[in-house]
C-alpha cells in the first residue's frame, strides 16, 4: 500500500487543523532540503480498457480507448519550504478576524525544459505557423540592431546583473549546489530541467539526474514570492535559458540560470504594482513576454527594455466609447513610443486575471478571469472576439487543444468546460472534481484528430483524466420538450447569433487547418438553422455600430452535454496546483511542494 508521507512542513502551519485534530502531531520542523520518496508500486493511475458508447447520427458506435494502461507513480519529490527571511518576521496576529489582507500565494508550479527534439509534443497543425510577430508593422518595434539576427548561441544577450553577487534587497541570496558545475557538465544534454517556485524560493532541478532532489541552484528572494514563470522555447540552448518569473510584488525577474544573470523588470511595480498571476513568452518571440496582473491588466514587456513610469496613452480611436469596450487599450503595441516598457498594456476588467493561454496557431489568446469570464482575443489585433461565462464562480485555468479547435477551462464551479473555438460555443461540461479546478492540460501524445485526452487537477487533491471525441460531444444530456425561452434570449437574438456564428466560423476556419474546415462547414450546414453569410458581413461588424464582441449567455444544464472522467484519483493530501504531460510521464505539483511523476504505461502504444 502506498502511504503518503506526513504533512510537509509549512510555515503557514494549519494551526486550525492541528488544534482540531484529536492527537496533534509534533510541530513540524522547518526543513531546508528537498526530499524524494519512491513509493513501492504506489498510487497507480488506472486508465481502464474502457469501451465507450459514442452516439453518432445513425447508431451508437463503440470506440475502444486506445490509451489504456496503468500509470505508475515513479517518485514524489518534496521541495523544501524555505524559512522566512529574518527581516520578515512572521507577524502572528492572534485575531482570526484581522482584516489585514494576506499576501497572494500560489502553489508550486513547474517549468520543464528539454533540448531533446523527441520530447517535443506532436503538432497537429497541418500547416506551419505563419502568424506575424506581435507588433509587426510598427517601425518603433522593428529590431534596431541587425547583428542580433545571428543565431549563434554564444551571442545571446544575457541580463546584466549577477544574481549571486547581487546586493539587491529584492534577492536574498543564491545557494548553488557544491558540484553544480560538474553536474551540469556530466549530464545528459537531452535531459529535462525543471524550474519550480516554492514560497520565496525558486529552484532549478535536473530531473534526469540520479540525485534529482538536489537542486542545482536555489534563489531565495527576500519577501516576494514568485507566482509564475516561463522559459523561452525559442532561445533555449545548452548554455542559455531565458526565464521570466512574476512575483507577488508585481516585479518581474528575467533570469538566465547558466550564467546566473538576472534583470528586474517592472521594478517596484512602476508599470503595474499588482501581483503577476501568469507569465508567458509570446510564441515565436525572443524578447517579448505577456504577464497578467491581479488587477485585470495584461502587459507585454520586452526583457531588454528599461522601465518607465507608465501613463495611459490616448486611445487611437477617440471616437469610440472606450469604457464600454471589453478591452481598454491603455497602450497599444502600435504606439510610437516603444523606447521603454511596457510594449502594450490592456485593461480587461478590475477582476483578477487567473490564467491565460496562447493558441497553437499563435494568433489567439484565451484569458480566464475571477469574474467567471473566458475571453478569447486576437491579441495581434488587440481585440476581444468572444466572452463566455462559467456556469458560476470564477474561472481558474485554461488551455487549448493541440490542434487549436477546443479550449478547456476549469473553475470554481468544480467543472471543466470544453468550448469549441471555430463554432464559438460551449461543447460540454465535465463533472468529476470535488472542489475547484486549479490546472488543466491536454496530453498531446494521446490526442489525434478525432479523440482528445486531457487531464486536470484541483483543490480536491485529485488528478482526473478525460477523453472526448468529436462525435460524442454534440449531444445534449437530455433534450427538453419545452424550451426555456428566458435563458435562450429572444429569437431574433438567436438568429443574429447564428448569423454571426457562421460569419466568424468562416473567418476562423483558416486557423484550424484545411482538414478541419470541411468538417465544420458540414456540421454547420447540417444544422439547417444556420444562415450562410456573405463576406462583407464581417466588415460591417467591424466598423458598424455593432459591438463586435459577442457576449455568450450561460447555457442551461439541460442543453449541455455532460462528460464523466475516465480516471479520478486522490494523489496527495494537499491541493494540487499544476499538471504537465511529458512524452514518458505525467507530472503534478502540489501546494505544499510535492512533485509527483507517473510513468506512462509501457505497453501502450500511441494509437494514431
Amino acid at each position: 500500500m502506498f502511504v503518503l508521507p506526513p504533512p510537509p512542513p509549512r510555515y503557514t502551519i494549519p494551526v486550525a487543523y492541528q488544534a482540531g485534530a484529536a492527537n496533534g502531531m509534533a510541530v513540524p520542523v522547518v526543513e531546508t532540503n528537498n526530499t524524494i520518496t519512491h513509493p513501492e508500486g504506489g498510487c497507480p493511475l488506472q486508465v481502464g480498457e474502457a469501451l465507450f458508447l459514442v452516439p453518432t447520427v445513425d447508431s451508437n458506435v463503440l470506440i475502444r480507448d486506445c490509451a489504456a494502461g496503468t500509470y505508475t507513480l515513479k517518485d514524489d519529490l518534496l521541495l523544501a519550504t524555505p524559512p522566512p527571511h529574518p527581516s520578515e518576521a512572521p507577524i502572528v496576529n492572534p485575531n482570526p478576524l484581522a482584516t489585514v489582507p494576506s499576501p497572494p500565494t500560489s502553489g508550486v508550479k513547474l517549468c520543464l525544459v528539454s533540448l531533446d527534439p523527441r520530447k517535443k509534443p506532436p503538432t497537429f497543425l497541418k500547416t506551419a505557423v505563419v502568424a506575424p510577430q506581435f507588433g509587426d508593422g510598427n517601425p518603433a518595434l522593428a529590431p534596431p540592431a541587425p547583428p542580433a539576427k545571428e543565431k549563434d548561441a554564444q551571442k545571446r544577450r544575457k541580463p546584466k546583473n549577477n544574481i549571486i553577487k547581487s546586493s539587491s534587497s529584492f534577492v536574498s541570496r543564491v545557494i548553488t549546489h557544491e558540484t553544480s558545475t560538474k553536474r551540469l557538465n556530466d549530464r545528459d544534454q537531452n535531459g529535462v530541467f525543471a524550474f519550480a517556485n516554492i514560497n520565496r524560493a525558486f529552484q532549478w532541478l535536473d530531473l534526469s539526474s540520479a540525485s534529482k532532489e538536489e537542486h542545482l541552484t536555489k534563489v531565495l528572494f527576500t519577501k516576494a514570492h514568485m507566482l509564475c514563470h516561463d522559459i523561452n522555447d525559442m532561445t533555449k540552448t545548452s548554455s542559455h535559458l531565458d526565464i521570466v518569473m512574476g512575483s507577488s510584488a508585481g516585479d518581474i525577474i528575467w533570469y538566465e540560470p547558466m550564467s546566473q544573470k538576472y534583470a528586474r523588470i517592472n521594478k517596484n511595480g512602476v508599470i503595474n504594482n499588482s501581483p503577476v498571476t501568469h507569465i508567458k513568452w509570446l510564441p515565436g518571440s525572443e524578447n517579448l513576454f505577456l504577464a497578467s496582473h491581479a488587477n485585470g491588466v495584461l502587459v507585454v514587456y520586452d526583457k531588454e527594455k528599461e522601465d518607465a513610469l507608465f501613463t495611459p496613452e490616448a486611445p487611437a480611436h477617440p471616437e469610440k466609447d472606450h469604457s464600454r469596450l471589453p478591452l481598454e487599450i491603455l497602450k497599444s503595441v502600435n504606439s510610437r513610443n516603444q523606447k521603454s516598457n511596457p510594449i502594450s498594456l490592456w485593461k480587461l476588467a478590475n477582476q483578477k486575471i487567473s490564467h491565460f493561454s496562447f493558441s497553437p496557431d499563435q494568433r489567439h489568446l484565451a484569458v480566464v478571469l475571477e469574474d467567471g469570464s473566458l475571453r478569447l482575443m486576437d491579441y495581434l489585433k488587440e481585440e476581444v472576439l468572444d466572452i463566455f461565462r462559467s456556469y458560476y464562480g470564477g474561472l481558474i485555468c485554461v488551455c487549448w487543444s493541440p490542434d487549436g479547435k477546443y479550449i478547456v477551462t476549469g473553475g470554481q464551479d468544480d467543472l471543466l468546460t470544453i468550448w469549441s473555438f471555430p463554432e464559438r460555443k460551449i461543447v460540454a461540461r465535465c463533472q468529476g472534481h470535488n472542489s475547484w479546478v486549479s490546472a488543466v492540460a491536454f496530453d498531446p501524445w494521446r490526442c489525434d484528430q478525432k479523440t482528445y485526452r486531457f487531464g486536470s487537477v484541483g483543490d480536491d487533491c485529485r488528478l482526473l483524466l478525460w477523453d472526448f471525441s468529436v462525435g460524442m460531444l454534440h449531444r445534449p444530456r437530455a433534450v427538453r420538450s419545452h424550451l426555456d425561452v428566458r435563458s435562450l434570449g429572444s429569437i431574433t437574438n438567436k438568429l443574429e447569433q447564428h448569423h454571426q456564428n457562421s460569419t466568424r466560423q468562416q473567418h476562423r476556419s483558416s486557423i484550424v487547418g484545411p482538414g478541419s474546415l470541411s468538417t465544420h462547414r458540414n456540421r454547420a450546414d447540417s444544422g439547417g438553422t444556420r444562415f450562410r453569410s456573405d463576406s462583407d458581413r464581417t466588415e460591417k461588424f467591424v466598423d458598424g455600430d455593432f459591438d463586435p464582441v459577442e457576449n455568450h449567455p450561460v447555457e442551461p444544464r439541460s442543453r449541455t452535454a455532460l462528460l464523466p472522467p475516465i480516471m479520478s484519483k486522490v494523489v496527495g493530501e494537499d491541493p494540487i496546483c499544476w499538471l504537465g504531460f511529458q512524452n514518458d510521464c505525467i507530472m503534478t505539483s502540489s501546494l505544499e511542494g510535492h512533485i509527483r511523476t507517473w510513468d506512462r504505461p509501457s505497453d501502450s502504444v500511441v494509437h494514431k
Binding site: 494549519p14 458560476y392 475547484w436
Partner: protein
C-alpha cells in the same frame, strides 16, 4: 536601494498606517477621527426609508453572538427585512420616531475625551514603568491590553462613542401579542426608523422573549447559530400564523376581502403572488426536496416531498460547497440493516434512495456540518476541513421537473464560527450589503472588509475561524454583470492614487484594499452628530474572547472595567533596514545556513525516525476512524429501523382513525402548540405530505387558497388548537420519513430541525 527598503518596511506597517500622514494626526485627541465604517458610508445622501443604510452593531450580553450574527444576516436579506417590516403592516414613521426618540441614546461627548485623557495618563505611567503597564490591565488577555487593533477594544469604543439604540416592545401597535416575531420586528423597525446610520443596538428585549419561551437559551452558554436560525424562522412562521388565525376570528364577521386587504399590504418586493400572506417566510427560505426511493425488488419508485428551510450538508476534507451539495444528493443504498419498507412488495427491501431539490428556495441557507459527533470522545467535535465556497452558486442536484433549475445564487452572508469546539467560541457575520460592499459584524463592531476577506474562512487558515452557515440569495446573471461593471468603475480611480503613495517591496495591496487599513483609527464622535445628554454609566461586560475562554473565566471581570486607554502611540514603524545591514545580515545568514545544513543532516535522521513513528500513529488513527465509521453506520441503521417501526405504528393508527383531516391532525397540533417549536417543522413537512405518490388524494397544486373555508367550521369550537393555514388537513403518510432525527446524536437533534439531515 535604501529607498526601496524604506518602502518595503513601510509595507510591513501598511496594514495599520494608511498613509504616512496618519500617525501625527492621530496623536491629536481633538481631531475628530473617522472610522473605517464612516469612511465607507460617506456620500450616502439622506436617510433612506427602507433601512438599507443602517449599519448597527449589536450588543453582546454574554455569549449572545449566535443571536447577533444571525439577526444581522436576516436584516440584510432585503426581502426578509421588507417582509418583517411590512407584516402585518408597517408602523408609520412618525410613531416610530416618537418611540425612538426615547430609545436612541447618544453617549456623552466627553466620554471619548475622558478616555483619551485616561490613555494619556496611562501612557505617562507606562513611560516610567513599562512593566506596570503590562501588569496593570487584564494580564490574561493574549493581546496587549491597549492594542487598539483588538476587537475587544474596538467594541468598547463603539459602545462608548456610538449612539445606543434600545428596542422596546411595540407589539400592540402591530396588533399582535408579544412574540419572537414582534421583537424581531421591533429591532428591524427601530433600525429603519433610526436617525443615525451607525450605532449599537441592544437586542435585550428580543433575548428576553427568546429566553422566556425557550428554556435552552436561558443559560449564558454558547449556542449553535444554525439551531438558532432554524428556531427563529420556525418561530416567525408560527407567530405569524397564530396571529393570523386569531385575526381571522376577530374579523370573521368582516367580508373576507377586507381582511385579505389588510394583510396584503405586505411586501411588494418579495414578489409574493400567494394569496396567503402569512407564508412569506416559506416563500423566501423554503424549498422542496424530493426523495426518490427505488425498491430494488419491485423496481417501484416512490417519491416523497419534504420542505426545508435550510440545508445541512456533510463536509469532506478538501471539498467545495458544490461537491457537498452533490454528495447530499448522491445515490444511497438502503440495504442490510437500513432496508426500505416497500409498500408495493410489502416488507423491508433493498432500495436506492436519492434526494433532489424540486423547488429552489429564494434564499438558500446552507449549514456546513462542522460539528460532528465522535463516538470515542462521546461528544461533538469541530471539523476543520477546508471547504471552499464560491461567490456564486447554482444547484446541480435538482429534479428534472424543477422550475428554473439553473437559478443563480450569490453569496450574501457568511456566519463564521471561531473556536476549537462546539461548546464555546464566537460567532461573527460577514455580510454583503446592498451598496456598501462587505461588512464584518462582530457584535458591537461593524467594520468594512474587502471582498477577498470572505474567503478567509474556508477552514484551512490558522485562527480556528470557519464558515458555518452560508446564505445564498437568488440573483440573475445580468445583476452580477452590472455589479462587476460597477466594481470596475468604483476602483478604477484608485490605482493612480495608490501608485503615487508607493508600494511595498513584498506585497502590494490591491487597490480595493486601501480602505481597510485605516482600521486602526479610533472611532470618535462626529461633530455633526447630535449629542444627547445621556451617558452610558459603564461599558457593559465584554464578550468572552473566543480564543481564551478559560483565561477569561479565570480573570475576574471588574465590575467597572477600566476605561479603555486610548493608545496614542502610533503603530510601530519597522525601522528601515539599511542596505548595509541587510548585506551583513545575509552574509551572516549564509554562514548560519552552512551550520544549519550540517545540523539538519543530523536532524534528518531523527526526522526520518519521527516520521516513521508518526506514520504508525496515523495508521492506527485511520483504523480507529474506520471503526468509528462502522459504529456510526450501525447506529444509523438502528435509528432507521426504529423510525420505520414508528412510522408503521403511526400508519396503523392513522388508518384506524378517520380519514378526515381535522380529527386526525388536531391532537398533533395540540402537541405542537404545547411543545413550542419542536414539532413545527414536522408539521411543515406534513403540509406537503399529500404529494406522496401513494397517497389517496390527488396532489394539491396550490395548497393554500381553499384552506380557510375548509377549516373554518371545524375551527370555531376549537379555536386554540387549529392552524387554519394548514393547506391540507389530511396528514396520512404512508412513507413516513425513514430517518429518525430525534434519536440521532446530532446536536440539532434537540428539536426537530427543518433542515434535512442526511443519515
Amino acid at each position: 536601494m535604501k529607498g526601496l527598503f524604506g518602502i518595503g518596511s513601510r509595507g510591513n506597517g501598511a496594514s495599520s498606517t494608511p498613509s504616512p500622514a496618519a500617525p501625527p494626526v492621530r496623536k491629536d485627541p481633538q481631531t475628530p477621527q473617522i472610522t473605517p465604517l464612516e469612511k465607507r458610508l460617506q456620500d450616502m445622501g439622506s436617510i433612506r426609508g427602507d433601512g438599507s443604510d443602517k449599519f448597527f452593531g449589536m450588543e453582546n450580553y454574554g455569549n449572545t453572538c449566535y443571536c447577533n450574527s444571525i439577526l444581522q444576516c436576516l436584516y440584510y436579506s432585503v426581502p426578509f427585512r421588507e417582509a418583517v417590516i411590512n407584516y402585518p403592516r408597517r408602523t408609520p414613521l412618525e410613531s416610530l420616531e416618537a418611540a425612538l426618540a426615547k430609545n436612541l441614546r447618544f453617549p456623552n461627548p466627553n466620554a471619548h475625551l475622558e478616555a483619551e485623557a485616561q490613555a494619556a495618563k496611562q501612557k505617562a505611567q507606562a513611560a516610567t514603568s513599562p512593566s506596570a503597564r503590562q501588569a496593570g490591565v487584564t494580564p490574561n488577555q493574549p493581546q496587549k491590553p491597549e492594542d487598539k487593533e483588538s476587537p475587544e477594544y474596538k467594541k468598547k469604543v463603539a459602545l462608548q462613542t456610538l449612539p445606543i439604540l434600545e428596542t422596546r416592545n411595540n407589539a400592540s401597535s402591530y396588533g399582535m401579542s408579544e412574540s419572537l416575531f414582534t421583537s424581531l420586528k421591533d429591532i428591524f423597525e427601530s433600525l429603519v426608523g433610526s436617525q443615525s446610520r451607525i450605532g449599537v443596538i441592544r437586542p435585550q428585549q428580543f433575548l428576553d422573549v427568546l429566553r422566556r419561551e425557550h428554556e435552552m437559551f436561558r443559560t449564558a452558554m454558547h449556542q449553535d447559530a444554525h439551531e438558532f436560525l432554524n428556531l427563529l424562522l420556525n418561530e416567525v412562521v408560527s407567530n405569524v400564523e397564530a396571529e393570523a388565525t386569531k385575526h381571522n376570528f376577530v374579523e370573521k364577521a368582516l367580508p373576507p376581502s377586507e381582511s385579505v386587504d389588510s394583510l396584503s399590504t405586505m411586501t411588494p418586493s418579495s414578489g409574493s403572488k400567494s394569496p396567503n400572506t402569512t407564508r412569506w417566510v416559506h416563500e423566501l427560505f423554503e424549498g422542496t426536496l424530493t426523495s426518490e426511493t427505488k425498491c430494488l425488488t419491485c423496481e417501484k419508485v416512490s417519491q416523497r416531498d419534504e420542505v426545508f428551510l435550510d440545508l445541512s450538508v456533510d463536509l469532506e476534507q478538501h471539498s467545495s460547497v458544490t461537491s457537498c451539495l452533490r454528495k447530499f444528493s448522491a445515490e444511497e443504498m438502503l440495504c442490510e440493516r437500513n432496508k426500505f419498507h416497500c409498500d408495493n412488495c410489502g416488507g423491508l427491501q433493498e432500495a436506492e434512495k436519492r434526494m433532489k431539490i424540486k423547488r429552489l428556495p429564494r434564499v438558500l441557507a446552507l449549514h456546513l456540518k462542522r460539528f460532528k459527533y465522535t463516538e470515542d470522545l462521546q461528544r461533538l467535535q469541530k471539523l476543520f476541513h477546508r471547504v471552499v465556497y464560491p461567490y456564486h452558486l447554482r444547484l446541480f442536484n435538482t429534479t428534472d421537473d424543477a422550475e428554473d433549475p439553473d437559478r443563480l445564487y450569490e453569496l450574501y452572508a457568511v456566519v463564521v464560527h471561531i473556536g476549537g469546539g462546539p461548546y464555546h467560541g464566537h460567532y461573527v457575520a460577514i455580510i454583503k450589503t446592498e451598496d456598501r460592499g462587505w461588512l464584518l459584524f462582530d457584535d458591537e463592531l461593524v467594520e468594512p472588509v474587502d471582498k477577498n476577506y470572505v474567503r478567509n474562512f474556508f477552514g484551512d487558515r490558522p485562527g480556528l475561524a470557519c464558515a458555518y452557515v452560508l446564505f445564498y440569495q437568488e440573483t440573475t446573471l445580468e445583476a452580477v454583470l452590472r455589479e462587476q461593471a460597477q466594481e470596475d468603475q468604483a476602483t478604477s480611480t484608485v490605482p493612480a492614487e495608490n501608485g503615487e503613495a508607493g508600494r511595498t517591496n513584498g506585497y502590494p495591496l490591491s487597490p480595493g484594499l486601501s480602505h481597510v487599513h485605516s482600521a486602526s483609527q479610533v472611532p470618535s464622535d462626529d461633530p455633526n452628530r447630535v449629542n444627547g445628554i445621556h451617558r452610558i454609566p459603564t461599558a457593559p461586560q465584554m464578550s468572552t474572547h473566543p480564543e481564551a475562554p478559560e483565561a477569561e473565566a479565570s480573570a475576574p471581570q471588574p465590575v467597572q472595567p477600566p476605561q479603555p486607554p486610548l493608545p496614542t502611540i502610533p503603530d510601530e514603524q519597522h525601522p528601515p533596514l539599511s542596505p548595509k545591514k541587510s548585506d551583513v545580515q545575509s552574509r551572516k545568514e549564509r554562514s548560519k545556513e552552512e551550520k544549519e545544513r550540517k545540523a539538519i543532516e543530523k536532524e534528518k535522521e531523527k526526522a526520518d525516525k519521527e516520521r516513521e513513528r508518526a506514520e504508525k500513529l496515523r495508521r492506527k488513527e485511520a483504523d480507529l476512524q474506520q471503526a468509528r465509521q462502522q459504529m456510526n453506520e450501525r447506529r444509523e441503521a438502528e435509528d432507521f429501523r426504529r423510525a420505520v417501526k414508528a412510522s408503521e405504528a403511526e400508519m396503523a393508527k392513522n388508518n384506524d382513525g378517520s380519514e378526515l383531516g381535522p380529527e386526525n391532525g388536531s391532537p398533533r397540533k395540540l402537541g405542537f402548540l404545547r411543545r413550542g417549536s419542536r414539532s413545527l417543522s414536522q408539521r411543515l413537512s406534513k403540509d406537503k405530505e399529500p404529494r406522496v405518490s401513494t397517497s389517496d388524494l390527488p396532489p394539491i397544486p396550490s395548497p393554500v387558497p381553499e384552506a380557510p373555508q375548509l377549516e373554518e367550521p371545524v375551527l370555531s369550537p376549537l379555536p386554540q388548537k387549529e392552524t387554519p393555514s394548514l393547506p391540507n388537513p389530511k396528514l396520512v403518510s404512508r412513507n413516513s420519513p425513514p430517518v429518525a432525527k430525534d434519536s440521532k446524536p446530532e446536536k440539532t437533534g434537540r428539536w426537530r430541525s427543518l433542515s434535512l439531515k442526511k443519515s
